[in-house]
Symmetry: C2
Subunit: 371 residues, 2 copies
């Protein structure tokens, strides 16, 4: 098999936790993997060359944002987002569906047409059809594309959930047709069904029938509690094919990740490391620290002894507290970078523990540590 075809290898399991490897034409991604989020063509506050030092192996780009700005014409000029933003490793793109629901002024979801919405930037009317979503993701030159789906807000209403499955399945098919047979890129299906086990299984089976390179759990991390999320994963992940990667969209905290890995999830993305970085919240092996807190004013210890990137372990909590109080950009820069580094270090520990067969111990040690 040529090196540049997309593939997934399941290396080993520790109960349901999976150690694997995704091969793409832009490089290998060890799973379970965490993808930092580059909403507008940048991981907020992080240089791409520093991002490499965090050992991030893949990032996420947002189709909705990139479609609005800079727009596909410019992305095409650069032959995609990799060159535009100077990131030559793999990129996964969402389909734009989630942001249309959460950010734009949505006019209508039309099964036949697509999502009809107004841009949150200038109010311009835009139609995102399944075909258009794939075209934009191709302009981005994404390595892993997601199907356009309808992601309803948290609800137990079966009719809403069923309808979302119906629309999403139809769109998923059209996305697959639009992409065609491109072996260097992957297309992932997205299961809906909320917290309803039967509907989830129905959605999963419909996606499997179409056939995708990987499968995502959508419509989670939308406000339900963690226990409910873990439960639905536990009940339904087994219906996915073993030999394809499984992606839990928009998740999460370190403990969300721990629990989801335990159920068999391989991929994650979340804005938490960078968003927290901008508000003075640092993820460390000592726990989550709110560096705004005045108790850190006189704490001369390093932020995290184990953070060996960019000499971050030379910076004291006292200094970071000072930067935050002084509203200095460097606080966001240092803490965001620390947080991504921590997340990747955390994922490496997860992978090591699955490999050694000690994942349950690791899970128990940290499951209640970060929330």
């Amino acid at each position: 098999m040529p090196k540049n075809e997309f593939s997934f290898e399941l290396i080993t399991q520790n109960e349901n936790a999976r150690l694997g490897k995704i091969i793409t034409s832009k490089g290998t991604v060890n799973t379970p993997a965490f993808m930092p989020v580059g909403t507008q063509g940048t991981i907020k506050g992080v240089f791409t060359d520093d991002l490499l030092k965090t050992k991030s192996e893949i990032i996420l780009g947002n189709t909705y944002h990139l479609l609005l700005r800079p727009g596909i014409e410019i992305l095409k000029k650069f032959n995609g987002l990799h060159n535009f933003m100077n990131w030559q490793k793999p990129i996964l793109t969402d389909s734009g569906g989630y942001q249309i629901m959460s950010l734009s002024k949505l006019n209508k979801i039309d099964k036949k047409i697509g999502a009809i919405f107004k841009s949150h930037l200038d109010g311009k009317k835009i139609i995102l059809s399944p075909e258009k979503s794939i075209q934009v993701q191709k302009a981005i030159n994404s390595d892993i594309l997601m199907v356009l789906d309808e992601c309803p807000k948290l609800t137990r209403d079966k009719k809403i959930l069923s309808n979302a499955i119906d629309v999403s399945t139809h769109w998923a098919k059209r996305c697959k047709v639009e992409l065609g047979n491109v072996k260097t890129k992957a297309l992932f299906g997205i299961a809906q069904g909320g917290l309803n086990k039967d509907l989830r299984i129905e959605s999963i089976n419909k996606l499997i029938e179409i056939g995708f390179d990987g499968y995502a759990m959508g419509g989670l991390a939308v406000g339900e509690n963690q226990e409910d999320m873990f439960k639905i994963l536990n009940e339904t992940l087994k219906y996915f094919p073993k030999n394809k990667p499984r992606y839990l969209m928009g998740v999460g905290t370190p403990s969300d990740i721990l629990g989801a890995v335990k159920e068999g999830i391989d991929m994650f993305d979340c804005v938490l490391p960078t968003r927290s970085g901008r508000t003075g919240l640092a993820f460390t092996w000592e726990g989550k620290l709110n560096l705004k807190n005045s108790k850190f004013k006189n704490d001369y210890s390093p932020l995290d002894e184990r953070c060996d990137i960019k000499e971050i372990n030379k910076y004291s909590k006292s200094y970071l507290h000072h930067l935050i109080k002084s509203d200095e950009m460097l606080a966001s820069m240092l803490i965001s970078l620390n947080n991504i580094y921590f997340y990747q270090q955390f994922m490496r520990e997860i992978r090591d523990n699955i490999k050694k067969g000690t994942y349950t111990n690791f899970y128990k040690k940290y499951i209640n540590f970060y929330d």
Copy 2:
């Protein structure tokens, strides 16, 4: 002479332009030198390890800001600003005088007491005497300390200018007494006198009589035009001792620097590279570029071919334009770093041209290029 004593060596001159070297216990500074400004214990938006890559050899710290926050107790705990902010090369500190005039609610300048003002942060009444200014600068562990001076706003009023010289000379003496005989640190005097030649010379002579390790021109770059600034430098710099460094405070644009070097200035500081960086203005060898301008949307050329730091030359103007329009922090980070790098590259070219005896050509080529 032990390596760690402060000294200045004048290596060569090209007409009045001087090539020199400042030795401090924290390292060597090649002159003419540009000092990036680290107001609150950070060069805004720049990691210290990246600052090293710009080949900056010295930075400026602001006594006024650091006195208010984090305060001298914390600075003392770290044995100074170098450790607090992770910058082990030389630091020059201003005396706090300028910020008291420009930022705080100034109550009174009292020759006997000092400057009496209210903090711009919390309105707290603070007295900054010449002695206190030196004590704070010692807590910062500054390598080059500045005397406390009274820096009047732009005026031609001889009485105001004379009075500022009188107060500043008195304070300068007290600063020297307060610092005592510390050979590893330098204390610079600051000449006042506005644009009045006779008053400038009077101020300079009074400072020389006290005797300092270096001399600064204060009270310039306060709104006068460039021609007037160059004129007063031309008329009065010759009164400074040749074997001591000369520092033009708060200056300036690349062309300000070119003209002042021509008259014999050795040191500069300015917030321009970082402040411009935060508003999308990039200094490059093509000139000063306003990257906000929509003409850059489709400009796929690199920001500056000659900027070989942090792969900045891989980023297109189109991408930087996108980041600015998207209000992304990375724009400030990339452009601030580019600008400091450019300034230091510009200073290296200045030094090379003085060394080769071609400074006048370099001056003529760029004097009208950046404004």
